[in-house]
Symmetry: C2
Subunit: 193 residues, 2 copies
Protein backbone atom coordinates (compact mmCIF):
# COMPACT_ATOMS: atom_id res chain seq x y z
CA UNK A 1 0.00 0.00 0.00
CA UNK A 2 1.36 3.46 -0.81
CA UNK A 3 1.40 5.65 2.27
CA UNK A 4 -1.18 8.43 2.32
CA UNK A 5 0.02 12.02 2.09
CA UNK A 6 0.14 13.90 5.37
CA UNK A 7 -2.53 16.64 5.32
CA UNK A 8 -0.98 20.05 4.71
CA UNK A 9 -2.58 23.48 4.30
CA UNK A 10 -3.96 23.80 0.77
CA UNK A 11 -5.45 27.31 0.80
CA UNK A 12 -3.21 30.37 0.64
CA UNK A 13 -3.78 34.09 0.25
CA UNK A 14 -1.11 36.41 -1.10
CA UNK A 15 -1.52 39.98 0.10
CA UNK A 16 -0.01 43.08 -1.50
CA UNK A 17 0.57 45.28 1.51
CA UNK A 18 2.80 47.84 3.19
CA UNK A 19 4.12 45.29 5.68
CA UNK A 20 5.13 41.68 5.33
CA UNK A 21 8.16 39.42 5.06
CA UNK A 22 8.76 39.89 1.32
CA UNK A 23 9.82 43.27 -0.11
CA UNK A 24 8.70 44.00 -3.68
CA UNK A 25 11.76 44.75 -5.82
CA UNK A 26 9.84 45.19 -9.06
CA UNK A 27 6.46 44.32 -10.49
CA UNK A 28 5.29 44.43 -14.04
CA UNK A 29 2.31 43.38 -16.06
CA UNK A 30 2.95 41.27 -19.16
CA UNK A 31 -0.66 40.87 -20.30
CA UNK A 32 -4.12 42.05 -19.28
CA UNK A 33 -4.86 44.40 -16.41
CA UNK A 34 -2.09 45.12 -13.87
CA UNK A 35 -2.48 44.69 -10.12
CA UNK A 36 -2.18 47.86 -8.00
CA UNK A 37 1.26 48.64 -6.61
CA UNK A 38 2.32 47.27 -3.21
CA UNK A 39 5.62 47.50 -1.36
CA UNK A 40 5.44 44.19 0.50
CA UNK A 41 3.84 40.78 0.08
CA UNK A 42 2.62 38.42 2.81
CA UNK A 43 1.46 34.84 2.41
CA UNK A 44 -1.36 33.82 4.72
CA UNK A 45 -2.55 30.26 5.26
CA UNK A 46 -6.26 30.12 4.42
CA UNK A 47 -8.50 32.79 2.97
CA UNK A 48 -9.03 36.27 4.39
CA UNK A 49 -12.42 37.92 4.83
CA UNK A 50 -11.19 41.40 4.00
CA UNK A 51 -8.07 43.27 2.97
CA UNK A 52 -5.88 44.46 5.86
CA UNK A 53 -5.66 48.25 6.34
CA UNK A 54 -3.28 49.67 3.73
CA UNK A 55 -3.22 46.54 1.56
CA UNK A 56 -3.98 47.03 -2.14
CA UNK A 57 -4.71 43.52 -3.37
CA UNK A 58 -5.14 39.90 -2.35
CA UNK A 59 -5.03 36.77 -4.45
CA UNK A 60 -6.11 33.37 -3.24
CA UNK A 61 -5.39 29.88 -4.49
CA UNK A 62 -5.50 26.24 -3.54
CA UNK A 63 -2.86 23.59 -4.04
CA UNK A 64 -4.33 20.56 -5.76
CA UNK A 65 -3.57 17.33 -7.53
CA UNK A 66 -1.45 17.40 -10.66
CA UNK A 67 -3.33 17.89 -13.90
CA UNK A 68 -0.68 16.90 -16.47
CA UNK A 69 2.29 15.33 -14.68
CA UNK A 70 2.76 11.62 -15.41
CA UNK A 71 4.27 8.87 -13.26
CA UNK A 72 7.88 9.04 -14.47
CA UNK A 73 7.82 12.84 -14.48
CA UNK A 74 6.39 12.88 -10.96
CA UNK A 75 9.17 10.57 -9.75
CA UNK A 76 11.79 12.86 -11.34
CA UNK A 77 10.19 15.96 -9.81
CA UNK A 78 9.88 14.42 -6.35
CA UNK A 79 13.50 13.19 -6.37
CA UNK A 80 14.91 16.59 -7.39
CA UNK A 81 12.71 19.23 -5.80
CA UNK A 82 13.25 20.99 -2.48
CA UNK A 83 10.73 22.76 -0.28
CA UNK A 84 9.96 26.42 0.20
CA UNK A 85 11.54 28.32 3.07
CA UNK A 86 15.22 27.40 2.54
CA UNK A 87 17.30 30.03 4.40
CA UNK A 88 19.44 30.63 1.29
CA UNK A 89 16.39 31.25 -0.91
CA UNK A 90 16.08 34.96 -0.24
CA UNK A 91 14.60 35.84 -3.63
CA UNK A 92 11.06 35.04 -4.72
CA UNK A 93 8.62 35.64 -7.54
CA UNK A 94 4.85 35.59 -7.61
CA UNK A 95 3.51 35.02 -11.11
CA UNK A 96 -0.28 35.06 -11.43
CA UNK A 97 -1.60 34.04 -14.84
CA UNK A 98 -4.95 33.57 -16.51
CA UNK A 99 -5.56 31.45 -19.61
CA UNK A 100 -8.04 32.10 -22.41
CA UNK A 101 -11.42 30.36 -22.57
CA UNK A 102 -10.12 28.54 -25.67
CA UNK A 103 -7.58 26.73 -23.45
CA UNK A 104 -10.22 25.51 -21.02
CA UNK A 105 -12.42 24.30 -23.88
CA UNK A 106 -9.68 21.92 -25.09
CA UNK A 107 -9.92 18.24 -24.13
CA UNK A 108 -7.36 16.83 -21.69
CA UNK A 109 -5.08 15.23 -24.31
CA UNK A 110 -4.89 18.44 -26.37
CA UNK A 111 -3.97 20.46 -23.25
CA UNK A 112 -1.37 17.88 -22.20
CA UNK A 113 0.06 17.88 -25.74
CA UNK A 114 0.52 21.66 -25.71
CA UNK A 115 1.70 21.62 -22.08
CA UNK A 116 4.47 19.06 -22.44
CA UNK A 117 4.96 17.69 -25.97
CA UNK A 118 5.03 21.15 -27.54
CA UNK A 119 5.93 23.42 -24.63
CA UNK A 120 8.12 21.14 -22.46
CA UNK A 121 6.67 22.77 -19.35
CA UNK A 122 7.63 19.91 -17.02
CA UNK A 123 11.05 19.37 -18.60
CA UNK A 124 11.86 23.09 -18.31
CA UNK A 125 10.87 23.12 -14.64
CA UNK A 126 12.96 19.99 -13.97
CA UNK A 127 16.03 21.58 -15.54
CA UNK A 128 16.07 24.26 -12.81
CA UNK A 129 15.49 21.95 -9.85
CA UNK A 130 16.47 22.00 -7.05
CA UNK A 131 17.68 25.63 -7.47
CA UNK A 132 14.20 27.05 -8.06
CA UNK A 133 11.53 25.79 -5.64
CA UNK A 134 7.92 26.38 -6.60
CA UNK A 135 4.37 25.96 -5.37
CA UNK A 136 1.42 26.11 -7.77
CA UNK A 137 -1.96 27.40 -6.56
CA UNK A 138 -5.16 26.90 -8.55
CA UNK A 139 -7.76 29.68 -8.52
CA UNK A 140 -10.09 28.95 -11.41
CA UNK A 141 -12.37 26.52 -9.60
CA UNK A 142 -12.59 28.50 -6.36
CA UNK A 143 -15.35 30.52 -7.96
CA UNK A 144 -16.30 32.29 -11.17
CA UNK A 145 -14.90 35.72 -10.33
CA UNK A 146 -11.29 34.86 -9.65
CA UNK A 147 -8.97 37.33 -11.41
CA UNK A 148 -6.38 34.68 -12.32
CA UNK A 149 -6.37 30.93 -13.01
CA UNK A 150 -3.04 30.14 -11.33
CA UNK A 151 -0.63 31.70 -8.87
CA UNK A 152 2.88 30.30 -8.95
CA UNK A 153 5.28 31.14 -6.13
CA UNK A 154 8.99 30.60 -6.73
CA UNK A 155 11.92 30.82 -4.28
CA UNK A 156 15.62 30.83 -5.17
CA UNK A 157 18.99 32.07 -3.98
CA UNK A 158 20.37 35.35 -5.43
CA UNK A 159 23.02 33.31 -7.28
CA UNK A 160 20.28 31.45 -9.14
CA UNK A 161 18.52 34.60 -10.37
CA UNK A 162 19.93 34.24 -13.90
CA UNK A 163 18.76 30.61 -14.06
CA UNK A 164 15.30 31.73 -12.96
CA UNK A 165 15.19 34.31 -15.80
CA UNK A 166 16.09 31.53 -18.24
CA UNK A 167 13.30 29.32 -16.90
CA UNK A 168 10.72 32.09 -17.32
CA UNK A 169 11.97 33.02 -20.79
CA UNK A 170 11.69 29.38 -21.89
CA UNK A 171 8.12 29.07 -20.61
CA UNK A 172 7.04 32.42 -22.05
CA UNK A 173 8.26 31.51 -25.51
CA UNK A 174 6.30 28.22 -25.47
CA UNK A 175 3.12 27.31 -27.36
CA UNK A 176 1.32 27.06 -24.01
CA UNK A 177 1.95 30.74 -23.26
CA UNK A 178 -0.02 31.80 -26.36
CA UNK A 179 -3.08 30.91 -24.25
CA UNK A 180 -2.09 33.30 -21.43
CA UNK A 181 -4.18 36.48 -21.53
CA UNK A 182 -3.30 37.98 -18.15
CA UNK A 183 0.06 37.82 -16.43
CA UNK A 184 1.78 39.74 -13.63
CA UNK A 185 5.38 39.25 -12.56
CA UNK A 186 6.25 40.37 -9.02
CA UNK A 187 9.84 39.96 -7.82
CA UNK A 188 10.65 39.94 -4.16
CA UNK A 189 13.48 39.81 -1.66
CA UNK A 190 13.17 38.53 1.87
CA UNK A 191 12.97 41.59 4.11
CA UNK A 192 15.62 41.73 6.78
CA UNK A 193 14.18 42.56 10.21
CA UNK B 1 -10.34 29.54 -35.08
CA UNK B 2 -12.53 27.43 -32.77
CA UNK B 3 -15.45 29.48 -31.46
CA UNK B 4 -15.29 30.36 -27.78
CA UNK B 5 -17.82 28.80 -25.43
CA UNK B 6 -20.71 31.07 -24.45
CA UNK B 7 -20.41 31.87 -20.72
CA UNK B 8 -22.87 29.81 -18.69
CA UNK B 9 -23.40 29.61 -14.95
CA UNK B 10 -20.74 27.38 -13.41
CA UNK B 11 -21.64 27.45 -9.72
CA UNK B 12 -24.60 25.48 -8.39
CA UNK B 13 -25.98 24.68 -4.97
CA UNK B 14 -28.19 21.66 -4.34
CA UNK B 15 -30.46 22.12 -1.32
CA UNK B 16 -32.19 19.33 0.62
CA UNK B 17 -35.38 21.05 1.67
CA UNK B 18 -39.12 20.70 2.31
CA UNK B 19 -40.01 22.58 -0.86
CA UNK B 20 -38.57 22.53 -4.34
CA UNK B 21 -39.19 21.16 -7.83
CA UNK B 22 -37.74 17.67 -7.23
CA UNK B 23 -39.42 15.22 -4.82
CA UNK B 24 -37.11 12.74 -3.11
CA UNK B 25 -38.31 9.21 -3.88
CA UNK B 26 -35.49 7.46 -2.02
CA UNK B 27 -32.08 8.25 -0.65
CA UNK B 28 -29.41 5.93 0.59
CA UNK B 29 -25.84 6.08 1.64
CA UNK B 30 -23.41 3.64 0.01
CA UNK B 31 -20.23 4.70 1.81
CA UNK B 32 -19.18 7.12 4.52
CA UNK B 33 -21.52 9.38 6.47
CA UNK B 34 -25.09 9.85 5.19
CA UNK B 35 -26.68 13.22 4.52
CA UNK B 36 -29.71 14.14 6.68
CA UNK B 37 -33.13 13.29 5.21
CA UNK B 38 -34.97 15.81 3.03
CA UNK B 39 -38.26 15.53 1.14
CA UNK B 40 -37.42 17.86 -1.76
CA UNK B 41 -34.35 19.09 -3.62
CA UNK B 42 -33.81 22.48 -5.29
CA UNK B 43 -30.96 23.51 -7.53
CA UNK B 44 -29.86 27.12 -7.15
CA UNK B 45 -27.52 28.94 -9.53
CA UNK B 46 -24.60 30.25 -7.47
CA UNK B 47 -23.76 29.67 -3.85
CA UNK B 48 -26.02 30.39 -0.89
CA UNK B 49 -24.94 32.20 2.25
CA UNK B 50 -27.12 30.13 4.60
CA UNK B 51 -29.55 27.24 4.55
CA UNK B 52 -33.19 28.20 3.91
CA UNK B 53 -35.57 27.66 6.87
CA UNK B 54 -36.44 23.95 7.08
CA UNK B 55 -33.63 22.82 4.78
CA UNK B 56 -31.35 20.08 6.14
CA UNK B 57 -28.34 20.21 3.82
CA UNK B 58 -26.74 22.03 0.92
CA UNK B 59 -24.00 20.91 -1.41
CA UNK B 60 -22.17 23.19 -3.80
CA UNK B 61 -20.12 22.51 -6.89
CA UNK B 62 -18.64 24.14 -9.96
CA UNK B 63 -18.67 22.88 -13.52
CA UNK B 64 -15.17 22.89 -14.96
CA UNK B 65 -12.99 21.72 -17.80
CA UNK B 66 -12.68 18.00 -18.46
CA UNK B 67 -9.94 16.24 -16.57
CA UNK B 68 -9.72 12.93 -18.47
CA UNK B 69 -11.79 13.15 -21.66
CA UNK B 70 -9.73 13.10 -24.85
CA UNK B 71 -10.44 14.65 -28.25
CA UNK B 72 -12.21 11.71 -29.92
CA UNK B 73 -14.17 10.93 -26.76
CA UNK B 74 -15.21 14.56 -26.44
CA UNK B 75 -16.45 14.58 -30.04
CA UNK B 76 -18.48 11.40 -29.37
CA UNK B 77 -19.93 12.85 -26.15
CA UNK B 78 -20.84 16.18 -27.74
CA UNK B 79 -22.52 14.51 -30.73
CA UNK B 80 -24.65 12.20 -28.57
CA UNK B 81 -25.50 14.12 -25.42
CA UNK B 82 -28.61 16.18 -24.73
CA UNK B 83 -29.12 18.94 -22.21
CA UNK B 84 -30.81 18.97 -18.84
CA UNK B 85 -34.42 20.09 -18.54
CA UNK B 86 -36.03 17.91 -21.23
CA UNK B 87 -39.78 17.78 -20.47
CA UNK B 88 -39.77 13.96 -20.70
CA UNK B 89 -36.89 13.64 -18.22
CA UNK B 90 -39.02 13.57 -15.08
CA UNK B 91 -36.65 11.38 -13.08
CA UNK B 92 -33.33 12.53 -11.64
CA UNK B 93 -30.52 11.38 -9.40
CA UNK B 94 -28.02 13.33 -7.35
CA UNK B 95 -24.92 11.29 -6.59
CA UNK B 96 -22.32 13.02 -4.43
CA UNK B 97 -19.04 11.12 -4.08
CA UNK B 98 -15.71 11.62 -2.38
CA UNK B 99 -12.50 9.84 -3.37
CA UNK B 100 -9.70 8.72 -1.08
CA UNK B 101 -6.51 10.75 -0.63
CA UNK B 102 -4.69 7.89 -2.40
CA UNK B 103 -6.60 8.74 -5.61
CA UNK B 104 -5.59 12.39 -5.49
CA UNK B 105 -1.96 11.47 -4.86
CA UNK B 106 -1.80 9.53 -8.15
CA UNK B 107 -0.24 11.24 -11.19
CA UNK B 108 -2.49 12.18 -14.11
CA UNK B 109 -1.68 9.17 -16.30
CA UNK B 110 -2.37 6.69 -13.47
CA UNK B 111 -5.75 8.34 -12.76
CA UNK B 112 -6.65 8.37 -16.47
CA UNK B 113 -5.62 4.71 -16.75
CA UNK B 114 -7.92 3.69 -13.89
CA UNK B 115 -10.67 6.04 -15.10
CA UNK B 116 -10.91 4.85 -18.68
CA UNK B 117 -8.56 1.98 -19.56
CA UNK B 118 -9.55 -0.10 -16.52
CA UNK B 119 -12.94 1.35 -15.58
CA UNK B 120 -14.34 2.43 -18.97
CA UNK B 121 -15.97 5.41 -17.26
CA UNK B 122 -16.38 7.44 -20.47
CA UNK B 123 -17.44 4.44 -22.57
CA UNK B 124 -20.07 3.46 -19.98
CA UNK B 125 -21.49 6.99 -19.94
CA UNK B 126 -21.55 7.10 -23.76
CA UNK B 127 -23.51 3.85 -23.91
CA UNK B 128 -26.44 5.50 -22.10
CA UNK B 129 -26.50 8.74 -24.11
CA UNK B 130 -28.70 10.50 -24.99
CA UNK B 131 -31.16 8.76 -22.62
CA UNK B 132 -29.31 9.81 -19.45
CA UNK B 133 -28.28 13.48 -19.37
CA UNK B 134 -25.72 14.49 -16.77
CA UNK B 135 -23.88 17.45 -15.34
CA UNK B 136 -20.73 17.02 -13.25
CA UNK B 137 -19.89 19.54 -10.52
CA UNK B 138 -16.45 19.69 -8.89
CA UNK B 139 -16.26 20.51 -5.18
CA UNK B 140 -12.77 19.51 -4.09
CA UNK B 141 -11.01 22.74 -5.09
CA UNK B 142 -13.70 25.10 -3.80
CA UNK B 143 -12.10 24.79 -0.40
CA UNK B 144 -10.68 22.30 2.04
CA UNK B 145 -13.85 21.52 3.98
CA UNK B 146 -16.09 20.34 1.18
CA UNK B 147 -17.91 17.15 2.19
CA UNK B 148 -17.69 15.59 -1.28
CA UNK B 149 -15.33 15.82 -4.28
CA UNK B 150 -17.99 15.59 -6.99
CA UNK B 151 -21.74 16.00 -7.37
CA UNK B 152 -23.24 14.38 -10.44
CA UNK B 153 -26.77 15.25 -11.45
CA UNK B 154 -28.56 12.90 -13.85
CA UNK B 155 -31.92 13.32 -15.63
CA UNK B 156 -33.83 10.63 -17.53
CA UNK B 157 -37.32 9.55 -18.52
CA UNK B 158 -39.13 6.94 -16.38
CA UNK B 159 -38.77 4.44 -19.25
CA UNK B 160 -34.97 4.77 -19.01
CA UNK B 161 -34.81 4.02 -15.28
CA UNK B 162 -33.58 0.45 -15.85
CA UNK B 163 -30.85 1.71 -18.18
CA UNK B 164 -29.80 4.20 -15.51
CA UNK B 165 -29.50 1.39 -12.93
CA UNK B 166 -27.28 -0.52 -15.36
CA UNK B 167 -25.06 2.54 -15.85
CA UNK B 168 -24.63 2.96 -12.08
CA UNK B 169 -24.01 -0.74 -11.52
CA UNK B 170 -21.30 -0.72 -14.21
CA UNK B 171 -19.54 2.29 -12.67
CA UNK B 172 -19.82 0.96 -9.13
CA UNK B 173 -18.21 -2.34 -10.05
CA UNK B 174 -15.24 -0.58 -11.68
CA UNK B 175 -11.66 -0.25 -10.44
CA UNK B 176 -12.22 3.51 -10.13
CA UNK B 177 -14.97 3.02 -7.53
CA UNK B 178 -12.53 1.29 -5.14
CA UNK B 179 -11.26 4.82 -4.49
CA UNK B 180 -14.70 6.13 -3.48
CA UNK B 181 -14.98 6.48 0.30
CA UNK B 182 -18.20 8.48 0.57
CA UNK B 183 -21.25 8.14 -1.65
CA UNK B 184 -24.90 9.13 -1.40
CA UNK B 185 -27.57 8.20 -3.95
CA UNK B 186 -30.66 10.42 -3.99
CA UNK B 187 -33.43 9.57 -6.46
CA UNK B 188 -35.97 12.17 -7.45
CA UNK B 189 -39.11 12.74 -9.48
CA UNK B 190 -40.17 16.09 -10.86
CA UNK B 191 -42.89 17.37 -8.53
CA UNK B 192 -46.19 18.14 -10.26
CA UNK B 193 -47.55 21.54 -9.25
Amino acid sequence: MPSLPIPTPRLFTFVGDTTGPWRVERAHCLAGDPLPAASRVSIVAGFIAQLPQGATWSLRGITSNERYVEQTEKAALVSKQQGLGRPTATRAALIPIRKKAAWWALPQDARREIFEARSRHIEIGLRYLPAVARRLHHCRDLGVDEPFDFLTWFEYAPGDAAAFEELLAALRSSAEWKYVDREMDIRLARATP
